[in-house]
């Protein structure tokens, strides 16, 4: 089938769904929905509808961004806009069904607003006017919460695969690379390296087998946007991978996901299957002569597996320990073949960049940070969520406008950004803009987009201890500055937090940190001192109190400290019959 035929078919199905005489009930079932009980709600809903003999189409969709309102469901009746019900539970789902589905009114059910050109339902506000939505500019997440991730036709009807079709039918591979370069897109996996330039490294490498690897390890605690994209709209990633493959002359794509994250894994594999069935993956895509395949590869639990050379080791089925560089992946990658590693978000922008053009993308954002920031907001704010906003918002706007401000009776004390290897910022940092370079200059990074907000109830030493414990736990052990350094740093931070610090501890940490920075093999060790450095810069007083006065200002450090035992045996022979747990 050529693309036009597919598109027509998809449009027809989409129009039918939107004009369906049976109501359409969409339920957010990304991880945020899952954790707040969306699947239990769906089960209760199905039972109810069967009992009451009500006909309805239930669609599992992704995350619309308002995680605080999950489980969030919306009901679309024929000829009416979608009406959104927030914080639905197994206890109030019957009320919603009775009131709205059966009696066509709302009394007690809690609603957020409406969406749709049919206009307001019961004078509800337009959902687009909520600050958490109004400030958003959704590109990678444009379909999230609106289309069913399990239905490729819904993706196509909403403009999906038209970027790929445009690239294949009207552009040379080099034009695609130019377009991505001109868009100013920078990698969203942490280092913010320009994506177009990275792609160009692969162009000259010899084929025929070349890989584009998509990194969805997403080990950063506090980050959930990569998994969010895969759960909400996996086809946008597949289309991005295909475009990258065409641009670079690659033959295969691999999506690398951590074992156990079943939502993202299953939805990605289902999407691959559907794309294959329609000929969007495989040989001679849209009759262009371009061949491309995509498969999913799973890793075990390892943070360092997200580092690009360790990732390739894991794809090959080994311990995820980084390789020495050079050779670089574009010359010698997975199985020795030329490879390119890109983050999920970076690739997911590509379809819209090709469809709408580099100028459109680069007009969004600020300075050298073009496009959007996909913020995973969590912690002590009223409205944690997954917000895609133009680059350049201030942290103040993030906390107040997106986050709905601090929780009751709490004031801002710290922001932890960019994952455990990022940094912490103080309350005086709220004028800083989300801009890769500005945040780096402030001693934090934007990284993959996690922003954890801490209130005055948070002790900086206690949080630092958790971050360092994480980095120590995750050190892969290959190079000794990181392996021993992280252990040493943890020992000292634990000492401080137990009010047992020794004279010279602060200097000792700096000295160990310096060695790690200059001597470690990969970013894990090189950046591993970051959380401590930024914490002692911005929260010197917290450290002083623990060290000199032996007290914790918030009392957090008096609580029992429960963290996993440091693990990862570095070398151990296999002896059958000996239990190794």
């Amino acid at each position: 089938m050529n693309f036009e035929e597919l598109k027509n078919q998809a449009d027809e199905k989409w129009n039918q769904l939107n004009d369906s005489p049976t109501p359409v009930i969409r339920v957010g079932t990304a991880m945020c929905g899952h954790a707040s009980g969306a699947f239990r709600v769906i089960q209760a809903l199905k039972t109810l509808l069967a009992e009451k003999k009500i006909d309805a189409i239930i669609e599992e969709v992704g995350c619309i961004g308002l995680c605080y309102a999950e489980p969030l469901i919306d009901i679309k009746k024929q000829g009416k806009s979608r009406l959104f019900f927030n914080n639905v539970s197994v206890n109030n789902i019957e009320e919603i069904v009775e009131e709205y589905l059966v009696n066509n009114k709302i009394k007690n059910a809690s609603t957020l607003g409406y969406l749709g050109k049919e206009g307001s339902v019961f004078n509800e506000p337009d959902l687009n006017t909520l600050p958490g939505i109004a400030l958003q500019e959704r590109i990678a997440l444009r379909n999230a919460g609106h289309t069913a991730p399990g239905d490729i036709f819904q993706y196509i009807a909403n403009g999906g695969y038209s970027g790929l079709n445009k690239a294949l039918s009207t552009m040379e591979p080099s034009d695609v690379i130019e377009e991505v370069k001109n868009s100013g897109l920078r990698g969203r996996g942490g280092a913010a390296f320009p994506t177009g330039i990275k792609w160009s490294f692969l162009v000259g490498s010899p084929g025929p087998t070349k890989y584009i690897l998509c990194n969805c390890e997403e080990g950063d605690p506090g980050a959930f946007n990569d998994k969010g994209i895969l759960e909400s709209d996996p086809h946008t990633l597949l289309e991005g991978l295909l475009i990258a493959g065409y641009a670079t002359g690659a033959s295969n794509g691999i999506v690398f996901i951590r074992h156990g994250h079943d939502g993202p894994i299953n939805r990605t594999e289902e999407a691959i299957k559907q794309a294959k069935e329609l000929g969007i993956l495989g040989k001679d895509i849209f009759g262009s002569g371009f061949d491309f395949d995509i498969e999913v590869s799973l890793t075990g639990e390892s943070y360092v597996a997200g580092e690009e050379t360790a990732l390739m080791e894991a794809v090959e089925g080994k311990r995820s320990m980084p390789r020495y560089r050079p050779p670089f992946p574009a010359a010698f990658g997975v199985w020795g073949k030329p490879s390119n590693i890109n983050n999920v978000k970076s690739l997911s922008y590509a379809p819209e960049i090709i469809s709408k053009g580099a100028d459109w993308f680069s007009s969004i954002g600020v300075n050298k940070s073009t496009g959007t920031a996909i913020v995973c907001l969590s912690g002590d704010v009223n409205q944690p969520g997954l917000y895609e906003v133009p680059m350049g918002l201030t942290l103040q706007q993030v906390i107040n406008d997106l986050g709905g401000g601090m929780k009751k009776d709490q004031t801002l004390k710290l922001l932890q950004t960019g994952g455990p290897l990022g940094g912490v910022l103080g309350p005086d940092s709220t004028d800083i803009h989300i801009d890769f370079d500005e945040m780096r200059a402030a001693g934090a990074i934007f990284g993959s987009g996690g922003i954890i907000v801490g209130s005055n109830k948070v002790c900086a030493v206690d949080l630092t201890r958790i971050l360092v414990a994480f980095c120590q736990f995750e050190s892969c052990g290959k190079c000794f500055p990181c392996r021993l350094g992280m252990e040493h740093l943890l020992e000292i931070v634990e000492r401080i937090s137990n009010f047992e610090s020794q004279p010279g501890d602060m200097d000792l940490m700096k000295s160990v940190g310096g060695t790690m920075e200059s001597g470690s093999l990969c970013g894990h060790g090189q950046l591993g001192f970051g959380p401590i450095r930024s914490a002692i810069t911005h929260f010197e007083e917290d450290f002083r109190l623990h060290i000199e006065e032996r007290i914790c200002p918030t009392g957090s450090c008096n609580n029992p400290k429960i963290v996993p035992k440091n693990t990862r045996p570095y070398a151990q022979d296999f002896v059958a019959g000996v239990k190794n747990d």
Partner: protein
């Protein structure tokens, strides 16, 4: 379930052979075995080494590296509590304490009665709902220590609905 040696080997070989993803490696085979029988018995290390044409030490090196692998059969129900920074700030250490007390455990491990296997999780990916726990792979967010115990208590002695 400890099975006799022949059955176990059969299950292992079957798990290795029935992987649906095209690329089969040491790691993918180990994951498939753990998904199928719940742990990595010694026989699995040996079989994977044979199938992948490598040494038992190379296979064991991979298995021992990733903390999600276990080397003895798990208990009936799996409990994971997130200790990631967001969950920590939202009180996960109280949950950890309550759960460990309830399970009479001091650290990661299995309860004596054969009911629960407990693990830490570095981030369950639902930070916007912190604190989060996972019980038989179902996530529960914005949860208190008492609610956690209730959920765990409720499933005690019931059949696991997940493997």
């Amino acid at each position: 379930m400890p099975a006799d040696n022949d059955t176990l080997r059969k299950q292992i070989i079957e798990a290795i052979a029935s992987q649906h993803r095209p690329t089969v490696t040491v790691l993918s085979s180990l994951l498939a075995i753990q998904d199928s029988i719940g742990y990595i018995p010694d026989e699995a290390i040996e079989e994977v080494a044979v199938q992948q044409n490598t040494t038992v030490n190379a296979v064991f090196g991979v298995a021992s590296f990733y903390p999600n692998f276990r080397f003895s059969p798990p208990n009936k129900h799996s409990i994971e509590v997130c200790w990631g920074p967001t969950c920590h700030l939202q009180g996960s250490s109280n949950i950890l304490q309550a759960v460990l007390n309830y399970l009479e455990l001091k650290e990661e491990g299995d309860t004596e009665d054969g009911e629960f296997s407990f693990r830490f999780n570095t981030c369950l990916g639902a930070c916007s709902q912190a604190p989060v726990i996972s019980v038989n792979h179902e996530l529960f967010g914005k949860i208190s220590p008492d609610e956690s115990i209730n959920i765990i208590n409720k499933i005690k002695s019931s059949d696991p609905h997940h493997k």
